[in-house]
């Protein structure tokens, strides 16, 4: 894990029509769907949105260190039909900066995120031995939510240094007709 600058290395592959759809969906926001329906969206497009959101969060964190870049994968939607329904999960982390810097980043996030398209639903300290700082938020612009924790290095944590973890996940989407989500990872 090399030290990197602000943005991730990857470049999303965005085709014209998908971008158009993304804007359209972004404008409607999260809609209430029937249980057997979800917004139709191309997997590649949702993965691209995920990367965009992660980029934004990393900019707010504004720290350098050992960055574990996002692994973006196709996940399940409860027990719903795996052919039609999917969500995009993304996990990444940053270690290296001292605990107070990471906690500072957490503070920055809780201040800046509400101004950059996030609605913070929970924040504080976890009900754990380490009592790590955390927050949970929903995006107001995209159908995504996020869970961020600064995992402290306490005696029984297996850690020698703290780690800032970001778990980003989309709502459930539906693949376009003719495509299958089950084959995608």
């Amino acid at each position: 894990m090399a030290s990197v600058g602000v943005a991730f290395m990857g470049r999303p592959k965005i085709a014209f029509t998908a971008l158009f759809m993304a804007l359209a969906i972004g404008m409607t926001g999260c809609s209430s769907m029937a249980d057997n329906e979800s917004t139709v969206e191309d997997i590649g497009e949702v993965k691209a949105q995920s990367r965009g959101l992660s980029d934004g969060l990393l900019r707010i964190i504004d720290l350098e260190g050992d960055l574990k870049e996002p692994v973006t994968s196709v996940g399940t939607c409860g027990d719903k039909d795996a052919d039609k329904f999917y969500r995009i999960n993304s996990s990444w982390s940053l270690a290296g900066p001292p605990a107070q810097d990471l906690r500072g980043a957490m503070g920055r996030l809780s201040k800046v995120m509400p101004k950059s398209g996030w609605d913070i639903t929970e924040h504080g300290r976890e009900n754990s031995v380490a009592k790590s700082h955390y927050l949970k938020a929903n995006s107001t612009e995209r159908a995504f939510s996020v869970y961020i924790v600064v995992l402290e290095a306490s005696p029984n944590s297996g850690r020698t240094r703290p780690l800032l973890y970001v778990g980003l996940a989309s709502d459930c989407f539906q693949v376009p007709d003719g495509q299958s989500a089950r084959d995608k990872y």
Binding site: V71, T76, A82, N89, N127, Y147, V149, G158, V166, G167
Partner: protein, 587 residues
């Protein structure tokens, strides 16, 4: 007919050298296959988009298939040549022993195999050359009543026997090797893989030395590991080439070996089942319109007959093929830009027969610092394998992100017949029957784990899978470090300390709105009587049970891996040994 001259002059080492050449080819094909699919195809997709790339990727995947086929078939040639060299060598040794003994007794064996001796009798003016031959009309030169004749005849017979043995070996192997040819086209079809399966059978039958009986059966994983370690490199390659199903199923041997073997079985079985499915006659019209006296549509006789004969088999083949497809799709996973960390899949177990077994690891558990084995519950099977594979890959992505230095492997263990449907899930049989396999699999992981590096093992179960875990700990030894139970209807035992792991290392999650723990506890929980509460059906959700109650923020029975949830992160925190950061359910 192998001649005396041929057998004495034989260089068995030549066969070994030829076999090595085929081994190099087999290894090269295997490496090429990996490079094409893991490296080239995925790099292409990283850099370019469009129809041209998609078409190129399809062709590259076909190329990878071709390499896989070459790997398998040349592995068979190699095994055959090795066997041939060994067996001819044995026959040759017998022959050379006879020659040496005979010459020590002053007999001479001529190139045609006849045994000659000289009678040194001073009373006879001429010194007649005498000889006999084995298994041929005896040619006698000289008079009878010669004490050396009997000895000579014995030598001749032994020569004959050695030549006969060599001829039999030669014929047997010629037949087997003669079968090993490939179609002269660039497409490895289902028929080619079915043929490869047959070739494997033929070479197996031909090779006398590597019998299937020599593979350990019903031994402990530790013993299996010792057996494998004791084999020469040659023998390891031969066993894997000839008996991939047996080798792939052996708990205790290295994961990369099991993966290679099981992928061969997968390729062959998929083609086999697809061929069988193609051969099933088309389903006839099911209904015919009603007639005058009976207006209701009825089933046609053709359909009823077809249904009786074929419907079950068709459904079974289709379900198996669906699962096999899910496994292959996992192998083909595209690497997105920036996703260099996505783990390689290892097929640690595979058999499509019956309900089917599949064990798929993300990352190599032999080298991983933290391994998690996920036991799925009701309805798990080849009909929805992608579901359970994805749960394990999701667990991997989160665990890997929080692990900070330690490598992670997560494994989907469909190593038992899971109950299908809520009714079946009432029975304890599935758990009790499947439990010993889990213990063996876990022991296998411990045995194959790299010596000297720490191996932290978590076994996590969902729903009925937890019942199996409980049964495993109850019936035998579940040699894990941590146990996680998700939505458990009960684990048959009443206390966390009954689950074989050290005290404090059982972790439970019950999501809100999950009906299963309540619904199943009377059947799968432990029935206890207490003065204050009366009858209690104890499950991991009970305070009495003594598990660590982990906080959840998801709802429902199927959502334990969903979202960026605390539910999921807590599981990952246990997997990587970050106990202090596991958040607990408030009381």
């Amino acid at each position: 007919m192998v001649t005396f001259a041929q057998l004495t002059q034989l260089r068995p080492a030549e066969f070994g050298e030829a076999a090595d050449g085929w081994h190099k080819l087999s290894s090269a094909a295997s490496a090429a296959k990996d490079r094409v699919s893991d490296d080239i195809a995925t790099q292409l997709q990283k850099l370019l988009i469009g129809e041209g790339v998609d078409a190129a990727v399809v062709r590259l995947r076909r190329l990878a298939q071709n390499f896989h086929y070459v790997q398998v078939e040349s592995g068979l040639v190699r095994a055959a040549l090795n066997g041939l060299g060994e067996e001819l060598g044995a026959a040759q040794k017998k022959l050379l022993d006879v020659v040496a003994e005979a010459e020590a007794e002053k007999f001479t064996i001529k190139p045609d195999g006849s045994v000659h001796w000289v009678e040194a009798d001073p009373t006879i003016p001429t010194t007649p050359q005498k000889s006999v031959q084995g298994e041929r009309p005896v040619v006698v030169i000289g008079s009878d009543a010669d004490p050396k004749r009997a000895k000579a005849q014995e030598y001749a017979d032994r020569v004959g026997a050695a030549l006969k043995e060599a001829t039999e070996v030669d014929t047997r192997y010629a037949q087997a090797l003669g079968r090993l040819h490939a179609d002269n086209d660039l497409n490895v079809s289902d028929a080619d893989w079915v043929d490869a399966q047959r070739d494997m059978g033929t070479v197996r039958t031909a090779t006398g030395s590597l019998a299937e009986g020599s593979i350990p059966k019903d031994k402990s994983p530790k013993e299996n590991a010792e057996w494998w370690k004791g084999l020469s490199g040659d023998d390891k390659a031969d066993y894997a080439a000839l008996y991939p199903a047996s080798v792939g199923a052996l708990d205790g041997i290295p994961s990369d070996v099991r993966d290679t073997a099981n992928r061969v079985v997968l390729a062959e079985k998929r083609a086999d089942y697809q061929t069988q499915l193609n051969a099933i006659p088309a389903e006839p019209w099911k209904y015919q319109p009603g007639s005058k006296g009976n207006p209701m549509a009825t089933k046609t006789t053709e359909w009823v007959k077809w249904d009786r004969e074929w419907a079950g088999k068709k459904a079974q083949l289709e379900a198996s093929l669906k699962g096999m497809g899910d496994i292959r799709k996992r192998f083909e996973r595209d690497i997105e830009p920036g996703d260099d960390r996505f783990p390689r899949a290892y097929l640690l177990g595979f058999s499509p027969e019956g309900r089917g077994r599949a064990v798929i690891a993300n990352g190599n558990p032999d080298t991983a610092d933290h391994t998690a084995v996920y036991v799925p519950g009701t309805n798990a099977g080849f009909g929805n394998l992608a579901h359970d594979i994805k749960r394990a890959t999701t667990l991997w992505t989160v665990s890997d992100a929080v692990s900070d230095g330690g490598s992670v492997s997560t494994i989907t263990w469909l190593g038992y017949d899971a109950p299908q449907g809520a009714k079946a899930a009432v029975s304890s049989d599935y758990a009790n029957n499947g439990a010993p396999s889990l213990n063996r699999f876990v022991d296998g992981l411990n045995a194959s784990h790299e010596a000297g590096s720490p191996g932290h093992l978590t076994v996590t179960g969902h729903s009925y899978g937890t019942t199996l875990i409980g049964s495993a700990a109850r019936q035998g030894d579940l040699n894990a470090d941590d146990i996680v139970t998700l939505g458990s209807p009960g684990v048959q035992v009443g206390r966390a300390t009954d689950l074989d792991v050290p005290r404090g290392h059982v972790w439970n999650e019950e999501a809100s709105g999950d009906p299963i723990p309540e619904a199943g506890r009377m059947k799968h929980g432990r029935t206890e009587y207490h003065f204050d509460t009366g009858v209690d059906y104890v499950t991991p959700s009970n305070e009495r049970f003594g598990a660590n109650p982990m906080r959840t923020d998801t709802s429902g029975h199927g959502s334990y891996w969903d979202r960026d949830s605390e539910t999921l992160l807590n599981q990952a925190r246990v997997v990587v040994g970050d106990y202090d950061n596991v958040s607990r359910r408030g009381r």
